[in-house]
């Protein structure tokens, strides 16, 4: 093993001591506080805005204060910073109140009177498709539509003996990073610095350039330590950064904008709710001839990155299987709800829940052992992808199954008695893969995107990278890779939080690509620096970001290899259902994961544990009813220390040659299989089929009532 030692993380001690400064801990002379004035209706035209009398030193900042364009230019679709004539969801930003005393600012914000002409709102994805309400986007409310297929799918259905159909649904999931969103914008001479809790510093700088209509270099984005991200600090920070920057530029004073938890729950992005119908064409013996998958993702008032999330979800929709024929159709629809966006798993948790639940239900229907039943369709090395590419490298799925089953003593537990007094006990499993990163173009260097190493006078080497450590341990992992390539102690490698004046643009940190792709870029840079390490003075080695050589991808036709690499995994979960209350408790979760070469086992365990428990919350607790969006943590329930079972995990070593030292990724995969494994376990315990996340006691009770 190339990396046998777990490295201490340099950020730990400051975080324990409370000396690590998050954006909310910053303060500047003459700093003003900002509060967002938000819509109180789901959908409507703004008729009239009446402002309170503004005391000296207090300002109101709205769309008219945006120097160039009221559009977050990062997004392809329309997306205003401030609503001007119409609002499309509750809590949409309309203006900012700014001033020195936060309590006074809030009072002023409260006094803004906005009159609306309400328009019938589209509450759910079903309503968006039914078309009974005035459409929000084009005629059909579809922001984005895409399909993939291979084989003779119509023939498969025409020649089938039976069609088996499932419909699964999942709801919103809030990231619930513990630190709410926040930025501070500080105007300086000829410059503005924005301190932000963000996963994409350069992307913010670009967007601000677009909104101000000026050279993006005017802005300096200093990324502050993140109190959690999970994908939630990709899109929302664009808005905060814009808002604070418009205010700072108007008032010529530093402006701090920190969301309350209520605002964060109501107004920030969430995981897309989904409705997925899967139909299998079966022959007389129960073999699958073809699979037809219809995916609907519910986007909110604006599209944001729903194209990308839906797209990657669709490319994973056939799961770990290659069927004789398959068709996948996906739509992302507009509704008058909070915006949905990037979230750990990026479309995968929804589509994997659908396919695994479908396959597990089929196995139960035929009274087949689920793992054997599914094995007939497993992807193998050399199999075609949904998009006509190839699985180029070894598929370690069977090894993960074997290892998870061994850890869990699955075969024995599966045969155990279900009923224990009022408790029903069940075990379930789910298989998953995680393709990452998604392919962007052909294997050409990506224009203007690079990373590098700065050899400093003192002999230390600084990583020049905008990639963000949001707690996942990325800085430590990348420092380890560079230290190893340079053959110097890790203490000599420095990695600071990103400052766009100092580090080049590489990418938003997300989609689990940081180690597998950018770790490789840094390794290549280190290999180049190595022979020059003893040269005196200060100099840097920059390396362009480039996709691996094996990749063939046609971005126009969407054909070829959709992802660089694949992580394979198996989750097994044991649950207990209390028949008195229909509460489900997870008793233990086992995960076996092929992450390629593990760079740091302790960090990986942190990702597996954390991802698994976030997945457990998604499976059992976390729900946001469309008509009663929770505004408080008393109503949006995430697991506490007493709600979580032990998680036991094992890693399968399956090095991925293009990755740095064979590493793949680990950030997102552990969450993917938890939902379907929990549902399978509950289904086995209760003897029913379940098709919805979360499995609330109310839902389970109703299902059990229907059974008897």
């Amino acid at each position: 093993m190339p990396f046998s030692k777990d490295e201490d993380r340099i950020d730990t001690i400051g975080k324990c001591c409370g000396t690590t400064r998050y954006v909310g801990d910053l303060s500047f002379d003459n700093m003003l506080e900002a509060v967002t004035v938000r819509s109180t209706v789901r959908r409507g035209k703004i008729k009239k805005i009446s402002l309170p009398e503004m005391p000296d030193g207090y300002f109101c900042v709205d769309a008219s204060d945006i120097p160039h364009q009221n559009q977050v230019t990062y997004f392809q679709d329309t997306c205003p910073y401030f609503a001007e004539s119409e609002v499309k969801y509750i809590a949409q930003p309309i203006m900012l109140m700014v001033g020195p005393d936060l309590r006074k600012v809030r009072r002023l914000a409260q006094k803004v009177q906005i009159d609306y002409e309400e328009i019938p709102a589209i509450h759910t994805l079903d309503e968006a498709l039914e078309g009974t309400k005035p459409p929000m986007h084009n005629d059909d409310n579809v922001y984005f539509k895409e399909d993939f297929s291979y084989g003779d799918i119509d023939g498969a259905f025409a020649g089938s003996d039976e069609i088996f159909e499932t419909q699964t649904r999942t709801g919103y999931q809030e990231h619930l990073y513990l630190e709410t969103q926040g930025v501070v914008a500080v105007p300086e001479t000829g410059k503005m610095t924005v301190y932000a809790s963000t996963q994409g510093p350069h992307a913010i700088r670009k967007a601000l350039g677009g909104a101000f209509g000026c050279d993006e270099e005017y802005f300096r984005i200093q990324q502050m330590p993140l109190g959690g991200g999970f994908g939630g600090k990709i899109e929302t920070p664009f808005f905060l950064a814009g808002h604070a920057a418009f205010a700072a530029s108007k008032c010529k004073q530093p402006v701090r904008l920190i969301y309350s938890r209520e605002e964060d729950l109501l107004a920030t992005t969430k995981r897309h709710p989904s409705r997925i119908v899967i139909r299998s064409a079966l022959d007389a013996k129960g073999n699958i001839l073809g699979v037809d998958i219809d995916v609907v993702f519910q986007a909110g008032g604006y599209a944001l990155s729903c194209r990308m999330v839906l797209d990657t979800g669709l490319k994973k929709a056939t799961g770990v299987y290659h069927f004789p024929a398959a068709r996948v159709l996906g739509r992302a629809v507009a509704t008058n709800n909070p915006m949905a966006g990037a979230y750990r798993g990026f479309g995968g948790p929804q589509t994997f829940f659908a396919i695994e639940t479908h396959m597990n239900a089929l196995a139960r229907k035929f009274k087949r052992d689920p793992l054997q039943f599914k094995a007939d369709y497993f992807i193998k090395q050399g199999t075609d992808t949904l998009t006509g590419g190839k699985y180029h490298f070894h598929v370690a799925l069977p090894e993960t199954i074997k290892e998870a089953a061994r850890l869990a003593d699955y075969e024995r537990r599966k045969k155990e008695q279900v009923q224990h007094g009022p408790i029903l006990r069940g075990i379930g499993q789910a298989l998953f893969s995680f393709g990452a990163p998604f392919s962007l173009g052909t294997n050409q260097p990506l224009p203007n995107r690079c990373m590098g190493l700065l050899k400093r006078k003192d002999g230390r080497v600084e990583i020049l990278s905008e990639l963000v450590d949001m707690g996942q341990g990325l800085h430590t992992a990348l420092r380890k890779i560079v230290a190893r390539a340079l053959k110097i102690p890790i203490e000599r490698i420095i990695y600071k939080d990103a400052d766009t004046d100092r580090v080049p643009e590489a990418s938003i940190t997300g989609a689990s690509m940081s180690v597998v792709l950018f770790g490789r870029v840094l390794k290549d840079a280190a290999d180049k620096l190595k022979p020059r390490l003893e040269e005196p003075g200060e100099f840097s080695v920059l390396e362009k970001v480039k996709q691996p050589d094996h990749l063939q991808w046609d971005p126009v036709k969407q054909q070829g290899d959709p992802f660089h690499s694949y992580v394979w995994g198996t989750v097994i979960a044991q649950v207990e259902v209390n028949t008195l209350t229909w509460q489900v408790a997870a008793r233990k979760i086992w995960t076996a994961l092929d992450v390629g070469t593990p760079i740091d086992r302790r960090i990986i365990k942190g990702q597996i544990d954390g991802g698994t428990i976030q997945g457990l919350g998604y499976s059992l607790l976390e729900s946001m009813p469309m008509d009663a969006m929770p505004a408080s943590l008393a109503d949006y329930i995430i697991p506490t220390s007493l709600d979580v079972p032990p998680v036991e995990s094992a890693l399968i070593a399956n090095p991925y040659p293009p990755g740095p030292y064979g590493a793949k990724c680990v950030g997102e995969p552990p969450l993917i299989g938890v939902g379907p494994a929990i549902v399978d376990a509950v289904a086995n315990a209760c003897g029913i089929e379940l098709f919805q996340l979360p499995v609330s006691p109310e839902y389970l009770m109703q299902k059990m009532a229907n059974k008897s």
Binding site: K15, R21, Y22, H175, L176, G227, G228, I613
Partner: protein, 158 residues
């Protein structure tokens, strides 16, 4: 008429003229610059704002400044000079219990008090003590491990 509110803060006697209706968490963070105490929710649900009030874990977001009068308040800034903190933070490091770190000061306040009152908490007791400290990153197990590690290494610390 301005009233002084006096209390003990990290071992020192302090007084403030601030309004009694400010939340203690705001006074600690803004007036005393003790930003190690975090606000994660402002509604008593997450534990990021945990302090010790007369030695017991307390939620500083759910308390008015006026209620701190004559009380003894310890924040992470005061705790970090102690031996107990050294043992705990080393254990948090070794067990990989810190990811984003936003929950960490609160977790340490809570678990410090636990270890003071209970020389040998088992897994269940540790989890029960932590039930008011949410962590979204770790899934808790590595934090529980860290506390167990601190129990093993505590010696005569508490």
């Amino acid at each position: 008429m301005t009233k002084l509110t006096s209390f003990t803060l990290n071992g020192e006697f302090v007084s403030t003229k601030s309004a009694l209706d400010l939340r203690l968490v705001d006074v600690l963070r803004c007036e005393f610059n003790l930003t190690g105490t975090k606000e994660g929710c402002g509604e008593g649900e997450c534990g990021a704002c945990m302090i010790l009030l007369d030695g017991h874990p307390a939620l500083s977001c759910l308390m008015l400044l006026g209620a701190a009068k004559d009380r003894d308040i310890l924040t992470i800034e005061g705790l970090r000079a102690t031996q107990g903190f050294a043992v705990l933070s080393q254990a948090f490091n070794d067990a990989g219990a810190v990811q984003c770190g936003f929950c960490t000061p609160g977790m340490i306040m809570t678990t410090y008090a636990l270890l003071r009152d209970n020389p040998n908490p088992d897994d269940g007791a540790i989890r029960a003590a932590m039930a008011g400290n949410l962590c979204r990153c770790t899934g808790y197990s590595m934090i529980v491990e860290a506390v167990s590690l601190a129990v093993q290494r505590r010696g005569e610390t508490w």
